[in-house]
Symmetry: C4
Subunit: 275 residues, 4 copies
């Protein structure tokens, strides 16, 4: 019988596959979730393309983004994006970092994001920009140091999305599904906004009042359930569905070796240098 | 043996899947039809992504968009778009509401739709715009109140398409196939128009005379049959075909429980608040 | 055993499917070929989406676009496009009429087509425009009358492509494969040209000398064979491959009923009014 | 048992299929590799679409792009692009020549390529342009003469990418995977850059320092492995996977006939005239 945690891992794995299948993630980017039973922990996949992530791939991290057990696999290097946001925003339960093509023209030109249709309200009005160069000078643009992640989390502030100049976007949500919905529909809105700007003329955005009200559609209506069923069907049709649920016992067995490790192993950190 | 009504439901379900498969609908939006035997009723799916709609999903509504029988499932919240148009336009037999990406740049910039090729004539010349904010101020942009739907229907007037600022589009037709054809080819035309505007220079549209004549292609030629066969094939190839026709008896059985309900249940209305 | 003519019909059917599968044709448009053994005849499919055309669907026409035998099926209405070009251009062995999205921005703005890369040379430099309205006033934009087809053929002149304002494109070739190659790569070039114009700045086209030399790549290199094998593989992968070759005898049998008709049947012409 | 060379050929074949499956190559373009055991030789497929290339298709060439054995199959005509770069750049182990749609607007307008996100750094800052017309006047734009290839190699200089005006792009790498990664992510960056330019306003590129550091991500992180696994999965899902590995003996047998040829056959060169 599958445990609630294993079910949560399946949901997170499917979330990764959905955001990739909808074209917001490619070989890079990731969706994480806070540990449902322990606010000081979060789960993020081992280093692999999100469209391939399986429930067994998740590594448990503390909020300093250190693995709880020595992973026998390589890790994403940008995990501090997740850890520092979970540290700064207790209500955030899921984080997505992506390089969506739809946002790139905005990120390259420093053009503000505004909602041009009701579902785009999930990204807010003019969410903050963050440029790694301002505080850290020339880097390889990856957010790998705790202070880099903390700086990004400060820029995010109370928003649900922060635009990373010449890099990508980071989205927060109150659940995996909420985060997935915000990531996908903010990307759709960005695509429409870019096309509207290319057409020329002035762009009419939602008013602050409309944005506040429309942003609640995702959490207060059946729209989220409807969209999730739709996206999951599309993942299945694309041949990217998850294998049938494995028993919790089996998944526990898989977890065993790592479980034997007594304490965080520094080797893990060095591995973290990779991306 | 399948009844005519069940066949009509299959056609409407396929219509929903076609418009979604052609990229005009995604997780949201819907295609409805007036009851073929009762002009004071219409059919609209329960709340689910149009690409997944099946003949058994349709709920029967009166023109005030109240369900005839208490539905045991969730409903779309924007059904008044359909009900109020059927009320105002007796010749309209099918309505499609969508958020086509192709239209978004026009809806965000308030740019007029004009036909730039013969098949785009189905959208008319400069169809009316409607902005929910003008009459109703800050809302969540969803058309859920009867007066909101009635206002939209007034804006549609005698046209076949109304552009909803910063939201989407609503299309009317004399049959499900006509409505599907108008929805898809108006979206194609919008896409070409947006690209033409990005190229710059002046856009040459069809003349009023050409538009009137070309708009009849859909109803007076074999083009509609040809397009429907093509779109249905594409739905099949995408793995989204309808299951084989079920017997009317079976479908009647499925309908039974709801049929036991004596009168409209208010609970249904509250459910309507969802989207 | 399949006859040469049946093989030619298979090639033409595959050509129709290829041009559609590459996104140049949709539910509308068609590819025809001149009768390999009789220059005064040509073959064009019955009225159906090109991606569905099978070898058995071809109707034999004279150069006035009248069917040699009374067809028991509906016909395309724009067949005079093909007949009048075969009449005017003896060296043309295949014609494609399409409404490629890539060309629409050029057709809506009257922007000249120029080759921006070597393979785009197959479309020539600034091929002629033709506007049905100039000579025929307000029509439904369809080229159905012999004089309309003749006017279009005059506009084509000695070129291989004519741009039909606010409608589409007609392409000629010395073989089905040549016509398919020109149709697809001219559309690719149009797409790149439109994007280049959106970027702004001046567009550098091939010189007349480069265009003449590059246009011969298709007929003088292995590129055409390579492209055809590639496109046919893509049609197969998309699930749109032709059924295995049927025997000529079988196909002859299929042709029989129509063959019994003594002379052209006027009813066929009225059918031609349809599209 | 498969030999290392046969494994290398499988990797190169998959590399060709990946770059095509990601939309950077179509029926044209090719990826080659230097002979792992002999720096004076390289491997390039026979003339066929890259998405169809199999391990058995590779022809062994000397750096003058002459086949070591008389090929019984047609050859690409632009192989001197590869040979002359291997001659000029000893550290280059793989070369990709493509006509990516993403680059066409830049190549048509002579707009500089700049990295607008970290992964675009693999293309460098303002890589050189090369126009065949400058040195060779009117040609069919194909790079077929040794002096044309040498001129292109000079233009490439110490860069990893050279932009060929009104033609395409040539990319170099230190391995097949490095070359594939550079080809795909430079194309993604070009796409974002073109959209950013269409939006208008000034484009903010990576600084020289950021570009240098970010360009090392591909060779110093697990990102390359992650991306390769992802792209290979996508090729499989698209139905374009390689057949199971054949034994080296079998592949040797296939090679035999050609192996019997005593010396380069001039006929091969004439064949090279084709493309």
């Amino acid at each position: 019988m599958a445990t609630p945690l294993f079910e949560a891992h399946r949901e997170l794995a499917l979330g990764n596959r959905i955001v990739a299948n909808e074209g917001v993630l490619d070989a890079f980017g990731h969706v994480s979730m806070r540990h449902p039973d322990n606010p000081n922990r979060y789960f993020l996949s081992r280093s692999r393309a999100p469209q391939l992530v399986a429930p067994e791939d998740f590594i448990e991290y503390d909020l300093d983004s250190q693995p709880i057990r020595a992973p026998s696999v390589t890790q994403y290097s940008e995990r501090v994006i997740h850890g520092e946001i979970y540290k700064a925003r207790p209500e955030v339960m899921s984080v997505c970092h992506h390089h969506s093509p739809a946002f790139m023209p905005l990120l390259a030109t420093g053009t503000d994001y505004v909602p041009v249709f009701h579902l785009g309200a999930v990204g807010g009005i003019k969410p903050p920009f963050w440029d790694q160069h301002d505080e850290f000078g020339d880097t390889n643009m990856l957010v790998v140091k705790p202070e880099e992640g903390a700086s990004l989390a400060r820029a995010l502030g109370k928003h649900w999305m922060v635009l990373m100049n010449r890099h990508g976007v980071t989205v927060a949500g109150v659940s995996v599904r909420d985060c997935v919905f915000r990531s996908i529909y903010a990307a759709r809105n960005a695509e429409y906004l870019v096309q509207a700007l290319a057409v020329g003329g002035s762009v009419a955005a939602l008013t602050p009042g409309e944005t506040e009200k429309a942003a609640q559609i995702v959490t207060t209506t059946t729209g989220l359930t409807r969209a999730w069923e739709y996206w999951a069907m599309r993942v299945e049709k694309a041949g990217g569905g998850l294998p049938a649920a494995k028993s919790a016992a089996a998944s526990a067995r898989r977890a065993k070796p790592a479980a034997l490790a007594k304490k965080p192993v520094r080797k893990a950190k060095s591995k973290g240098k990779r991306r």
